[in-house]
């Protein structure tokens, strides 16, 4: 993430997504807005990961969706591969979608239960009319192999697989169009630790082998640290702090970031005692929304 965003794959400036609050019977009028995302700017360089962290309701997922134009931003600019996404026509945007994909949080609800694994992974290819049927079958096998999923299971259905295996299917689908950017929206938060490690390693390997860029959205600060080159901390729709990962984690400047980091329990009882003291000093600055 260069300071001025030069040569960045993705550059987001003053992004805002407000949801109207409507009141009234028959004649509705907008009385106020929920400012889910409010003036967010960042950029992502080719082949790197920006980790977007924050607590529930901070606007981190909404930011991810707005970048992909899955939600239409209220204002602001999203430049991706040199094109302004907010101004693209529907058909141009559709073309651009080949280059930017998403992996969802819940591998149980993000795969159509009535489609076979093979059809789920092939769907992006079908939608974009790529290849013949046979080409697509070969491509699907390739993709499944890439993500460590047995390609002989293409005729099975998602419910036959565990959460980790389903997340592999979701990743294969995201890779189908050879995208350059993948928004990972809490990709491992529904998974157990041992399975989570498998998926995080897979995402790391894919990035190295395919030169992917990630916008990695998650609430788990340790997970985000192992994945990210740069970090953006969000709170109540705004960016609180951004910077290189090591910098933000080891020398946080903002009180919110400090409190957030201090609250994370670490798997080390002695270190935990020190951290508890640090935490008390910070006085749960932000804990509880009393």
């Amino acid at each position: 993430m260069s300071a001025n965003g030069d040569g960045a794959l993705l550059e987001v400036r003053d992004l805002a997504k407000w949801f109207p609050i409507r009141k009234g019977f028959l004649v509705e009028r907008t009385v106020d807005h929920v400012k889910a995302v409010d003036g967010v700017s960042f950029s992502i360089a080719e082949g790197t990961t920006l980790g977007l962290v924050g607590e529930s309701g901070s606007g981190k997922s909404t930011t991810g969706y707005s970048v992909l134009q899955l939600l239409k931003p209220t204002s602001g600019s999203v430049r991706f591969m040199g094109k302004e996404l907010t101004e693209l026509s529907r058909s141009d945007l559709r073309e651009m979608r080949r280059e930017m994909q998403i992996v969802f949080q819940d591998p149980y609800s993000s795969l159509n239960p009535r489609m076979t694994v093979g059809n789920i992974v092939a769907e992006p290819l079908v939608v974009h009319s790529i290849g013949t049927r046979r080409d697509r079958e070969a491509k699907v096998r390739d993709l499944l192999e890439t993500v460590g999923f047995n390609p002989d299971f293409t005729n099975r259905y998602p419910h036959e697989f565990s959460g980790g295996q389903r997340q592999r299917i979701g990743i294969a689908r995201a890779l189908a169009l050879n995208p350059r950017l993948i928004v990972c929206d809490e990709p491992v938060s529904a998974l157990d630790v041992s399975i989570q490690a498998q998926i995080l390693n897979l995402l790391k390997d894919l990035q190295r082998d395919l030169g992917l860029s990630y916008l990695f959205v998650a609430h788990d600060l340790a997970v985000v640290r192992t994945m990210s080159d740069h970090i953006a901390v969000m709170n109540q729709g705004k960016l609180v702090e951004t910077g290189p990962a090591a910098e933000v984690y080891d020398h946080p400047r903002e009180d919110y970031t400090k409190a957030l980091l201090a609250a994370v329990p670490v798997p080390d009882p002695r270190r935990m005692r020190d951290r508890k003291r640090e935490r008390r000093k910070l006085g749960h600055a932000i804990a509880e929304g009393f």
């Binding site: 041992s194 490690a197 340790a222 640290r225 329990p265 670490v266 009882p269 935990m272 804990a287 509880e288």
Partner: protein, 337 residues
């Protein structure tokens, strides 16, 4: 004598495919004033263990196959439902994972707080209400007296969990079982709840069992830790022993699989993932349940043929494995790599 002594607990669930061996031979004890952390991944049997102690499982499909549960010298597993009701809430209280669904949305916080006291203690309604306000203060809810008349939807997730804790403490129980008490909460709120539990355990002189999937949470909250895998305790030790000198290959792998918050080169490194996944508990492996995923279980090893016993490797440090870290010879370690 320990406050709670659980011996060879086995709880199975009948299904069309056969019995699910959810808890399969679990033994542990909790001393007065101490916190035991039970940690493990989903489906390892940690919650079923807690619910079995409380007698809260619907039977059928659940079935207690064996086990004794001695609480303060009294056997709980043979009590009638009526007798058990006198223990639950009074002597042993429990809080659950989801504070959003554990409160009744149609009753005020005050009603729900006094309910347990009126059931168990010989108090008047007024006295119970007064005590309820004190309890809300104790769990740090501001304007406690006014907030008694609010309904749960007026409370945030963290505050609801505080209310649940207040209800649990209302009859001064001697043991509090907290099942994933912070899993549904944001990390800053979690920190507040864990601090609160710690503080109250001391004030009320309670023992506590905290059940979680989060190694960080047990590192913070527990004096002793039991690691569960596939229905069994695979390792048990005082917290520092467990974290600094883990013996079981599963515990070792689990610690290696955790992303690190602090330290160098976390971005470049890979996590040590555990291959495969836990066994099907309808038909668990007859030998060591971790053997199919264990890097040290070799061909012809006894642990792939018969189940290893839970052994005390150091005072207070138990592990159920043929290949504890301290007994591994170099040759095995090399082949495993």
């Amino acid at each position: 004598m320990a406050l709670l002594d659980v011996e060879d607990l086995r709880t199975y669930f009948g299904t069309r495919r056969g019995d699910v061996h959810a808890v399969d031979g679990v033994s542990f004890s909790v001393e007065k004033g101490r916190t035991l952390g039970i940690v493990g991944e989903s489906g390892c049997g940690k919650s079923v263990t807690a619910l079995s102690i409380m007698g809260l499982l619907p039977m059928p499909p659940a079935r207690r196959v064996s086990g004794t549960i001695r609480f303060d010298g009294r056997e709980l597993s043979t009590l009638s439902e009526r007798e058990l009701e006198d223990v639950r809430g009074r002597q042993i209280a429990m809080i659950f994972q989801d504070p959003m669904t554990s409160l009744n949305p149609t009753l005020t916080i005050g009603t729900q707080l006094t309910e347990t006291m009126l059931r168990h203690l010989d108090v008047s309604k007024d006295a119970a209400r007064k005590r309820a306000a004190e309890l809300l203060e104790e769990v740090h809810i501001p304007n406690a007296r006014q907030r008694l008349d609010d309904y749960p939807h007026r409370y945030s997730g963290g505050m609801r969990q505080r209310v649940m804790i207040a209800i649990a403490l209302s009859c001064n129980p001697r043991l509090l079982i907290a099942d994933e008490p912070t899993t549904a909460l944001d990390v800053t709120v979690q920190a507040g709840i864990l601090d609160l539990l710690d503080e109250l355990r001391e004030q009320h002189d309670m023992a506590m069992i905290i059940i979680t999937h989060d190694m960080g949470v047990v590192a913070e909250a527990a004096d002793d830790i039991a690691v569960m895998y596939a229905g069994q305790i695979v390792e048990q030790a005082p917290a520092e022993e467990l974290f600094y000198r883990p013996e079981h290959p599963y515990t070792e792998a689990l610690l290696g699989a955790l992303p690190q918050l602090e330290g160098e080169n976390v971005r470049e490194g890979r996590l040590t993932a555990i291959p495969g996944r836990p066994p099907d508990l309808v038909d668990p492996p007859e030998a060591c349940r971790f053997a199919p995923r264990c890097p040290y279980a070799g061909l012809g090893d006894y642990c792939t043929v018969e189940p290893p016993e839970l052994r005390e490797l150091r005072p207070g440090h138990w592990a159920r494995t043929a290949h504890p870290v301290s007994e591994r010879d170099e040759a095995i370690v090399e082949t495993a790599r």
